[in-house]
């Protein structure tokens, strides 16, 4: 009892003060704790916040501002209202470029998806032989940069010197116009991007397939479900989150395709396979029409946001946050 009233032989008054002080400190403790619970995470994210502000918010805001000016990269930008957007809306070149980019995206997403999923299924099936070396082969393109990928396929599909046309001619046909026919050039771009993009998506699918409990598949087999049924009724639904991710990432990746095409055919023949990022690059850097290029950027940004929102809607179990 006495311990609560006196402290280490001090007088009653002093003891009371000390106890009061201790209590006060005890009361303040959670307060201190919560300051450190604010300061600590704040300093953990500080660098990222600064970089985010500098390289995402600032360029975004600046791009929006430029899109309303006649900025050419030097001098001061003059406000010209929505003129760039009006001009863009009437620019047939822009529609061609946008249409080509969308066509490419619509074709490439299913292609990437089926290739990656199909190969992942083969590589995880118990039936196929030689899976380990095959997996390394499928993964090789991941090591190769888009520029070198363009070089490799340009070499293989060269109109006058490529091995593919050589073999076609050897078989009695006439070489295909991979470089001078816009449609064939687009087909080639699709082949190359699928070849290059499969590795990463395949890894995602392989990991997801391995996470499917074997017992589900065994139970289905006992119930008499065939291979195809097991795939469509069990595997595919369970891969949904991964599929969503692959589709979303491939869509965005296709919309901003640039480097590989640069090395493969430069968006050719002529400008027939010019995609939107190349268009922005040309307008902004080669023609130095920064205002106009920024307006195109803003349009692309809105398109990407719309695509992302639509896809999020489709993914009901979206719990990223």
């Amino acid at each position: 009892m006495s311990r609560t009233n006196t402290v280490d032989g001090l007088s009653a008054e002093t003891s009371a003060l000390v106890i009061k002080g201790r209590r006060a400190r005890r009361v303040r403790r959670p307060g201190q704790r919560s300051t450190s619970l604010v300061l600590a995470p704040l300093s953990f994210i500080a660098v990222a916040v600064v970089l985010f502000a500098l390289f995402f918010v600032w360029p975004g805001a600046l791009g929006l501002w430029y899109s309303f000016t006649d900025y050419t990269g030097v001098g001061t930008p003059d406000f010209i209202g929505a003129e760039n957007y009006v001009e863009l809306a009437q620019d047939p070149d822009f529609y061609v470029v946008l249409g080509r980019t969308l066509l490419y995206t619509v074709l490439s997403v299913p292609l990437h998806f089926v290739a990656a999923l199909g190969i992942a299924v083969l590589l995880t099936s118990t039936a196929a032989k030689g899976k380990a070396p095959a997996r390394i082969i499928f993964f090789l393109p991941w090591l190769i940069s888009p520029i070198v990928a363009g070089v490799i396929w340009k070499w293989l599909f060269g109109e006058n010197f490529g091995m593919v046309n050589f073999i076609i001619e050897l078989a009695g046909g006439t070489g295909l116009r991979w470089e001078t026919d816009p449609t064939l050039a687009l087909v080639l771009i699709l082949i190359v991007s699928t070849w290059g993009g499969t590795a990463f998506n395949m890894l995602l699918f392989i990991a997801a397939i391995r996470n499917i409990p074997r017992s589900y598949l065994e139970a289905a087999q006992l119930d008499g479900a065939g291979g195809w049924q097991r795939f469509t009724r069990i595997v595919l639904p369970l891969l949904r989150p991964t599929s969503f991710m692959v589709v979303l990432l491939t869509t965005i990746g296709s919309m901003k395709e640039f480097a590989m095409v640069q090395a493969l055919n430069g968006g050719g023949p002529g400008t027939s396979n010019m995609f939107i990022v190349q268009y922005i690059y040309r307008t902004g850097f080669e023609r130095a029409d920064v205002g106009y290029a920024s307006a195109a950027s803003m349009v692309l940004m809105v398109i990407l946001i719309v695509i992302a929102i639509i896809q999020m809607r489709f993914d009901k179990r979206n719990d990223l946050a």
Partner: protein, 273 residues
Amino acid sequence: MNAKRWGIGSTIVLWLLALGFLIPVAWFLLSSFKPGSELFSLPLTLFPKDWTVSGYETAWNRFDFARYFLNTSIVAVVTTVLTVLVSAMTGYAFAKYHAWWLKAFFICILATTMLPTEVIMPSSFAVVRDLGLYNSLAGIIVPSIITATGIFMFRQYFKTIPDELLEAARIDGVGEFGAFWRIMLPLARPIAVVLAIFSFQWRWNDYIWPLIVLRDPSQYTLQVALRSIVGADNVDWSVLLSASVISLIPMVVLFAIFQRQIMNADINSGLKD
């Protein structure tokens, strides 16, 4: 019987596909060992009739490859170290602390995947220029440090570590930073390794930032240098093929060393929860 046929069928399909993936690379690799005169001489042969490394010698002598290698290595290594560090700190804050502003910033970070910098190239360039980073390697390094993927990977990983561990550390008087440095970061080593490999690959193969930031050929990274060869009016294929092969070597070495980590990387762990 049926299962056996199924097995043979899928093996054949698998290997036909694998061949399709391999042939372009093999043809490219074998061609790089042909002398310039043999590259276009019909009939084409798969293997060089006359093995030579003359293309490599020309490529190495005509271009300042040592410098491009050095530039690219500096960019890739420095960015990777910073990316891993910043991603770990940021992901840790997202996983272990709770506040509305952390949630808001997390959504901002996720939004960066939807709105990559390529999209706003002209103004990104203006920002780099105004910061005085134009035509310097720092101009490629600094903007590439934050990646949503890296932050996300660490966040998901740290979420799996029980909060009790952190509470215990706090009770023992370990500060918030000490807990991160001495307890959490060492635990997250597998994630750090995977992210480091990925980040190195992204930066080694990056094209768009070096393209808009670097003007001086002495600052060029490998990808920009290669693009200047392939974009020339008269492509010197002998040099281009060898130069491209040389640029692949570091990635191949990296893959050979970390093959197990790369192939088993459960990048999904970030995505499925």
